[in-house]
Amino acid sequence: MTEKMHIKLKVNGEDKEFLAEPRELLIYALREKLNITGPHVGCETSHCGACTVTLNGKSVKSCTMFVAQANGAEITTIEGIGTPDALHVLQESFREHHGLQCGFCTPGMIMRATKLLEENPTPTEEEVRFGMAGNICRCTGYQNIVKSILAAASELNAAKEAAQ
């Protein structure tokens, strides 16, 4: 066992400090040290995307990053994008369009989709399919996930237009 490091993170707007071995993966630090269990472990090899979080403004698969590498970072997880009284548009949209079944991939899917729509607010279906190809779902066949994301994009754009 190596010496533990002093880690500081800002997670969902809150400052967190804890000790961790440098080899500890970010996903386990989030899940086991901070009890943030929204992000899931599906493969530990970066393929499935169930662990996707936003780290310093980018989509990151937290199973393939050491917590030491994340030291000082600002992280948003599924728990940080909405509240029960004010859900994120994508959270609403996934429910509305049946974009989930077992729910295991959903936190990663929605987190990736939030970034996708920031990067490209008016994606085509093809762009959604390409942009979400790092996240695997075993239940839905993606059809309703794509539908959910396209519907959320329309809604976000309509809201933006209304605000202008």
Binding site: M1, F94, E96, H98, Q101, G103, N135, R138, V146
Partner: protein, 805 residues
């Protein structure tokens, strides 16, 4: 009462009962990261377990040295077979009547087999300790081919040496497990010998894996003060796990509480009982603190629950006009090192005897030989009822092969052989009684929807253009028509480890007119909390939004056999409807008392009982519920509760018609799915939105299996597809949009006429994708190539037919 006045329509809509696309109640927690899966469970003082696994597929375990591992700070215990033997837990019974090593007892039989269980303070320390356990192996000859296994002198299962009788009859060889025969062999051979036309084909349905996104795991907590064991786990059948845990551990069943929390997909992977579950229990008993075990993805693919691995040989006989007269099927089934198939006891090859499919075939014979090899045990039903994917793939390929032999259109060949609507209930040559069907209507609707004739014309033009050198792509039209057999099953012939396969529902109506219903099943994404409430809403007149559905806790839910084989709606759904009817019967008596009329003078109307002929006189279910608890009613005891245990009289037989259109690049082997049309008939439809979601998902898993997903071994028994780098799971990029359609042919014996749908798209989808690939090459002489049709194999097919010359 059949008028649809706006007032009645509104009351009916408010119920959110059967037939509406109610949004899912589960989604609130899943979209907010508040699901509660096994790995989310964290208990005070909890330790973590991890396995030392065999790198060899067949070897003797000479010695195990734990010293270095035990010396590592944080390591609490290292368990081996020697430690489990005094408890008689070093072996466990399998669901198939065989036994399986929990931890290697002298030898290992497949790569990844569990050898020792390390228990440590956290997952990192446990993983370090796994590396420190020194195991000395002596390699033995490896057999990965079942045909070779049946000829080999090498005895794989030394524990069974000399046993000529297995759980399913005589064993022909020391690596042979069983022979299972159905139908009339002599009569079938006679039909084949005298037939105008006989088509023969051998096909291999490759080994694959259900691979749900959440792997398997458990948390065991032995409370020594109260003598209670609590076990959380990824269990598709929590009640069965409780009974098995009790039988294995000797702890009385009332002292064991099994909880299946949220489950991240099952698809058959989470039906079996795995060494990890047993070891977490033993470790908690030994250490006195909770112990968690969660497998990683590689362990999941290597050791828990493979599916298929069937080598099938068929002969199909027909008249010159294409009327099928007989079917012969032989299967060599590779079961790996232990026979841990998850099938009802009397069906060692599951319902493979549904292999006459949707066709009126008068004579048939099926024989299945199960064989041991040095591969992982399992043989689960990956998104299908027991071995039905194999059966449907077999018959749907045989039909295509016969069509080629007859030089006939495969759609027409199906049509002239379908079981006719008026023949139902139909008893098939291999014994099953199909409950209901209208195959011709479904087929005609499907072919018309895709303009089948137009597609064939386009395909013929494409072939000509290809021959002229104007294009390098071919067009494939995949057809499949399937009949599923789900809802296991009648207790008279369906049991698992002796436990009859009924299911259950218990309902409590609260005084204010809301309710909780508990079932013996467990959702893994199917949306039971949404749909079962819809069944009840229609049955008892309380809005689905006021009904909580709870499953998975054996201390609270009534006993049931769980969720797999599309049995939840056919069995537990029936129990739900019948328990609801018991509630309604009591409610009727209460309503009659309150309305001061005779019981027979009131009738149920959506959400109330009304006086016949005087609908202005009524009592709503809410009022009735309140009265049930708070008013003294002569002759009626207080409360409003009911329970139903449902033993189905028969299976249900959903069916469907699928068409897939592909363009295949002959030079790269890449297939592009242009269109996929899926018509499903699952009887009465409870929630169309959820049905469509199930169809999309099942088809995508079918696409995966048909086009690349495989558990492959090399000749030394090394797993070549142990990570998601090599094991194909399609992404949004590879998957098309599906067109869904339906007909409705209710099940005559199910209380609400529902048949189940979750597995149909997988069962029908695999042959449809495969047939599309094979059909593209039919004009060039292809009759059959084996799955998975990955780009390389498609390229090889094209190459073998001389299309690259």
């Amino acid at each position: 009462m059949n008028d649809l006045s706006p007032e009645r329509q509104e009351r009916s809509a408010n119920l959110k009962g059967m037939g509406c696309s109610r949004k899912r109640v589960e989604d609130a927690r899943f979209t907010q990261g508040k699901g509660n899966y096994v790995d989310d469970i964290k208990l005070d003082g909890m330790l973590h377990g991890d396995f030392v696994r065999s790198p060899y597929a067949h070897a003797r375990v000479v010695s195990i040295n734990k010293d270095a591992a035990l010396a590592l700070p944080g390591v609490v215990a290292v368990l081996t077979a020697e430690d489990l033997a005094p408890l008689n837990l070093h072996w466990m019974p399998t669901l198939a009547g065989d036994k399986q090593m929990v931890l290697a007892d002298g030898k290992v039989l497949f790569q990844g087999q569990e050898v020792a269980f390390v228990v440590a303070s956290d997952r990192y320390v446990a993983a370090d300790a796994v590396e420190l356990v020194e195991v000395e192996y002596e390699e033995l000859p490896v057999i990965t081919d079942p045909f070779e296994s049946l000829k080999s002198d090498v005895v794989l299962r030394e524990d069974l040496a000399g046993q000529t009788e297995g759980a399913h009859g005589p064993r022909k060889h020391h690596n042979h497990i069983f022979t299972w025969e159905q139908g009339e062999e002599a009569a079938t051979n006679q039909v084949i010998d005298n037939a105008d036309i006989v088509a023969e084909e051998s096909m291999y349905y490759h080994r694959t894996h259900p691979c749900p996104l959440e792997t398997c795991g458990s948390v065991a907590s032995m409370d020594k003060v109260n003598g209670k064991l609590t076990l959380w786990g990824t269990f598709q059948a929590p009640h069965v796990v409780r009974t098995v845990a009790s039988l294995l551990s000797g702890i009385e069943e009332h002292n064991i509480r099994v909880i299946s929390p949220d489950i991240g997909g099952g698809f058959g992977n989470k039906v079996g009982v795995y060494p990890g579950y047993v070891c977490s229990i033993v470790a908690s008993i030994v250490t006195g603190v909770p112990v968690k075990w969660v497998e990683d993805r590689m362990e999941n693919l290597m050791s828990t629950a493979f599916a298929r691995d069937y080598h099938m040989t068929g002969k199909i006989a027909a008249t010159k006009d294409g009327k099928i007269t007989g079917l012969h099927c032989h299967v060599t089934a590779d079961h790996g090192g232990f026979d841990a198939c998850a099938d009802p006891t009397k069906f060692p090859a599951g319902f493979m005897n549904i292999c006459t499919g949707s066709y009126d075939i008068p004579t048939a014979y099926l024989a299945v030989d199960g064989v041991y090899t040095n591969k992982a045990p399992g043989g689960v039903s990956y998104r299908c009822s027991f071995r039905v994917t194999e059966a449907v793939y077999f018959i749907e390929r045989m039909i295509e092969v016969l069509a080629i032999k007859l030089d006939m259109d495969a759609a027409e060949l199906r049509r002239i052989n379908f079981i006719k609507k008026e023949q139902f209930p139909y008893t098939a040559a291999l014994g099953w009684e199909y409950d209901s069907g209208d195959y011709h209507t479904a087929w005609d609707k499907a072919l018309k929807s895709v303009d089948y004739e137009g597609l064939r014309k386009e395909q013929a033009e494409r072939v000509e253009a290809f021959k002229r050198g104007e294009t390098r792509t071919l067009m494939g039209i995949g057809l499949s028509f399937f009949t599923e057999i789900v809802g296991a099953g009648p207790v008279k012939n369906c049991d698992i480890l002796g436990m009859g396969m009924f299911d259950s529902c218990e309902i409590r109506i609260h005084p204010t007119g809301s309710a909780i219903a508990r079932l013996g099943t467990i959702s893994q994404g199917q949306g039971h909390a949404t749909t079962f409430a819809q069944i009840l809403a229609s049955e008892i007149g309380i809005s689905a939004d006021s009904i909580t559905i709870e499953e998975g806790d054996t201390d609270t839910a009534p006993y049931g056999l769980g969720t797999y084989g599309s049995r939840s709606t056919p069995v537990a759904g029936a129990a739900t409807a019948l328990a609801g009817r018991k509630i309604r019967a009591k409610a009727q008596m209460i309503a009659a008392y309150l309305l001061e009329v005779h019981d027979d003078d009131v009738e149920f109307d959506i959400d109330r009982f009304v006086v016949k002929g005087a609908p202005e006189k009524f009592k709503t279910m809410k009022e009735i519920a309140y009265a049930a608890y708070n008013q003294a009613i002569p002759g009626i005891e207080p409360g409003l509760e009911a329970v139903s245990y449902y033993d189905p009289p028969n299976m249900t037989y959903p069916f469907g018609a699928y068409v897939c259109v592909m363009d295949i690049d002959v030079d790269t082997g890449v297939p592009e799915i242009r269109r996929f049309y899926a018509l499903d008939d699952c009887g009465t439809r409870i929630n169309p939105m959820i049905i469509e979601g199930q169809v999309h998902g099942g088809l995508t898993e079918a696409l995966a299996v048909a086009l690349g997903q495989e558990i492959a071994y090399d000749e030394l028994g090394n797993v070549k597809t142990g990570t998601l780098m090599d094991f194909f799971l399609p992404t949004a990029w590879e998957v098309p949009n599906y067109e869904t359609d339906y007909t409705v042919t209710p099940s005559p014996h199910h209380p609400i006429g529902a048949k189940g749908v979750g597995e149909s798209p997988h069962v029908g989808g695999v042959p449809c994708f495969s047939n599309a690939i094979q059909d593209a090459f039919r004009p060039f002489g292809n009759t059959h190539t084996n799955m998975p049709h990955d780009h390389w194999r498609i390229w090889q097919t094209a190459n073998g037919l001389g299309l690259h010359d």
